[in-house]
């Protein structure tokens, strides 16, 4: 009986330098797949490589041989001696390997629990493996289960619900102040990676207009061009507060850029329409006293960081529910694998056919006239004969021994043809 084997390393077991060194490019993966599937000990193989993990998932008749082959393959492709990475590897077998794959795909094993990219990464790794014909019955089934479980966990738990990046947390907050961000006007003061990321998120929400203010006007113009916004001069900021709704502060300025009085005047002009300041700058750009004005909200980088920390805690709590779903899926997968043996399949096929025959005879016979009630014994004999005749050829085929037949595939097909798994 084939075993499922997984070896790999991730962000908890290996330092980033090593992960970088062992990461597979798409070409590496294709080469590695064709190398491994030729090996007699390895029946099926899927390889996935992300920035936080490299894992080789195999179906094998010989665990130790397969593990060695995979390690040698890694060493050969990346030209690094096995000893240099061997200690960082983990190795999981059968149920534990299944559990690991399910957890990884569902993002329970990610550095940031619940991050959504991993599912897509594993899907594309699986696609590569199917194109190379490296994945077959068991891994096909396992990965399809993994995708299903990942989606289920995402929809039934809050694992991916809350923002875990500064820029996204800012967008979520905006949505709790303004009903829809459509047509809202945004002002970005200064520049910086985080501010630009937040602006990108906001643009995706169809904001109405974007203004960019920068100390050096030229820089502002080039930024505005990039985001299809409008560059304004620094001196125009107080006047613009009357029009815009969301302000992102991200300058390197040592003193405050927006003072309480600016905002107070603007609020009168804008008839108390709410105003939301996102202050990502350190030192801060926006006077904290602004937050005390009615209908004005100011969040600085620490506030946003606190929100993210709380959200991460929440995700971890939700992940516990995800673990339970994984546990169930592991058991179901084990049942499916066990059923791929010959005897249980023949037994359930026989049971199904017998039930059909008995049912139909019991339904039809009493309705026929001129037929004496069939003796119970004779009836049973006839049923058994029919079932045996039908079962004869399939049983012989399934029990046939020989390396050239792909027995798991036959068994799987039989189970599916007759819907034996319901």
């Amino acid at each position: 009986m084939a075993d499922i084997l997984l070896i790999g390393l991730n962000h908890t077991t290996a330092p980033v330098e090593l992960r970088e060194c062992i990461a597979f490019t798409p070409e590496d993966t294709t080469a590695a797949l064709s190398l491994l599937k030729q090996h007699a000990a390895i029946d099926e193989v899927v390889i996935y490589s992300t920035c936080n993990r490299v894992e080789v998932l195999m179906v094998t008749g010989n665990i130790s041989q397969a593990a060695d082959t995979a390690k040698n393959m890694i060493a050969a492709i990346h030209q690094i001696p096995v000893e240099q990475f061997e200690t960082f590897l983990y190795q999981w077998e059968n149920d534990e390997a299944v559990r690991h794959v399910l957890r990884v795909t569902a993002s329970l094993d990610s550095m940031i629990v619940g991050e959504p990219q991993i599912l897509g990464q594993i899907k594309s790794a699986y696609k590569t493996a199917t194109q190379e014909k490296a994945s077959a019955l068991i891994l096909n089934r396992l990965l399809h289960r993994a995708f299903f479980v990942a989606k289920k966990i995402r929809s039934e738990t809050g694992i991916g619900d809350r923002a875990v990046s500064i820029s996204y947390a800012a967008v979520e907050l905006s949505k709790k102040i303004f009903d829809a961000l459509e047509k809202r006007k945004v002002l970005m003061i200064g520049a910086g990676e985080m501010a630009e990321l937040a602006v990108e998120h906001l643009i995706r929400q169809n904001i109405g207009a974007l203004y960019v203010a920068n100390r050096t006007f030229e820089r502002g113009v080039s930024l505005a061009e990039r985001f299809k916004g409008q560059a304004i001069r620094f001196e125009e900021i107080p006047g613009l507060l009357e029009q815009v709704d969301i302000i992102i502060g991200s300058t390197g300025s040592p003193e405050l850029v927006i003072h309480r009085d600016h905002v107070k005047t603007a609020m009168r002009a804008r008839r108390n329409q709410p105003l939301f300041f996102i202050d990502i700058a350190v030192p801060r750009d926006i006077d904290p006293a602004v937050n005390r004005l009615t209908n004005v909200y100011v969040y600085d980088i620490d506030d946003l960081q606190n929100i993210i920390n709380e959200n991460l805690e929440d995700r971890k709590k939700e992940a516990l529910k995800g673990e339970r779903i994984v546990d169930e899926a592991v058991i179901r997968f084990r049942e499916w694998q066990d059923n791929l043996n010959v005897t249980p399949t023949i037994v359930s096929l026989r049971r199904k056919i017998k039930a059909i025959v008995e049912n139909e005879i019991d339904r039809t016979l009493p309705r026929l006239e001129h037929v004496p009630p069939l003796e119970q014994k004779a009836k049973q004999k006839m049923i058994d004969a029919i079932v045996n005749k039908i079962m004869h050829d399939p049983t012989r085929l399934l029990k046939q021994e020989g390396r050239h037949i792909n027995k798991p595939a036959y068994l799987d097909l039989t189970r599916r043809l007759f819907k034996l798994d319901d």
């Binding site: 709790k176 606190n306 929100i307």
Partner: protein, 273 residues
């Protein structure tokens, strides 16, 4: 009919429970159950009130028992209409328990058999009662939204995002829907006062009689008028509007109960028990 009103109360209580479970667990089937239970309760309640009207020959608003029942009915009905326009599900967790509690109090009170004055059967009076009750119901919704606004604004302002922060919608949405409720409530209250004046004129020969209820209704009307004026011309929105919606409803409650209990007047009959 006493058993029938108990049945209605059971539906309202179940709806309230479902809505509270929705508030806690955020599962949409709780929201749906709460909503449909409320609809069934409200339909039965409509039958009950129609029957009462048919038997008495006028709207059943005699004594506190019947007026409270009427108030619960209009609140439930208005909320159901409101839901079709503004899908603010979480408001059910405020309205449904309020409806259930109002009807439960009503059920506790003794039945009242009062011979209505001859003048009771007037088209003006029908309009007066219906519009005033519907207006009050709209202001009750506005009050609930005002409370929601203050809770949500406090969460965002103080940066402590707890239980309600996640469950409540955006400030702007609460503010807009609250405003809509005030507009509807104000229109109905105005109609209610006008039809009341017309009725007073037809029965007592005068529009205004300095009755305490009249005075307090006038105060409430002025307060809501000020709120609307402030919003339109001075931009009183958000927190200020929310607080005023709550104060306005407190004045209305006093007009409804307080005036009848503590002060005398020609509306006293309707809240006697």
């Amino acid at each position: 009919m006493n058993h029938f009103i108990l049945l209605i109360a059971v539906f309202y209580v179940l709806s309230a429970i479902a809505y509270i479970l929705y508030l806690i667990h955020q599962k949409s089937y709780w929201n749906r159950s709460g909503f449909y239970l409320l609809i069934v309760g409200c339909l039965f309640h409509t039958v009950h009130i129609a029957y009462g009207t048919f038997m008495a020959g006028h709207l059943p608003v005699h004594g506190l028992r019947e007026t409270l029942s009427m108030a619960a009915w209009t609140m439930a009905g208005l909320f159901i209409l409101f839901q079709t326009r503004y899908p603010l599900k979480i408001l059910g967790a405020f309205v449904s328990p309020l409806v259930a509690a109002t009807l439960l109090i009503a059920v506790q009170l003794p039945m009242h058999t009062m011979e209505p004055p001859v003048s009771f059967n007037s088209i003006w009076l029908y309009f007066h009662i219906v519009t005033v009750f519907l207006g009050d119901a709209a202001f009750a919704l506005a009050c609930g939204l005002g409370i929601f606004y203050l809770v949500q604004e406090q969460a965002i302002k103080s940066k402590s995002h707890g239980f309600f922060y996640r469950r409540l919608p955006s400030l702007e949405f609460i503010d807009t829907t609250g405003y809509a409720c005030i507009v509807v409530g104000f229109a109905l209250l105005t109609l209610g006062l006008v039809t009341g004046f017309a009725y007073a004129k037809s029965v007592w020969g005068r529009f205004w009689g300095w009755d305490p209820k009249e005075i307090w209704s006038g105060i409430a009307w002025v307060l809501y008028a000020a709120l609307l004026h402030g919003r339109i011309s001075l931009g009183w929105r958000g927190k200020k509007a929310a607080i005023m919606a709550i104060i306005g409803f407190a004045v209305l409650l006093f007009t409804f109960f307080g005036v009848n209990f503590f002060l005398k007047g020609h509306h006293g009959e309707f809240t006697r028990w």
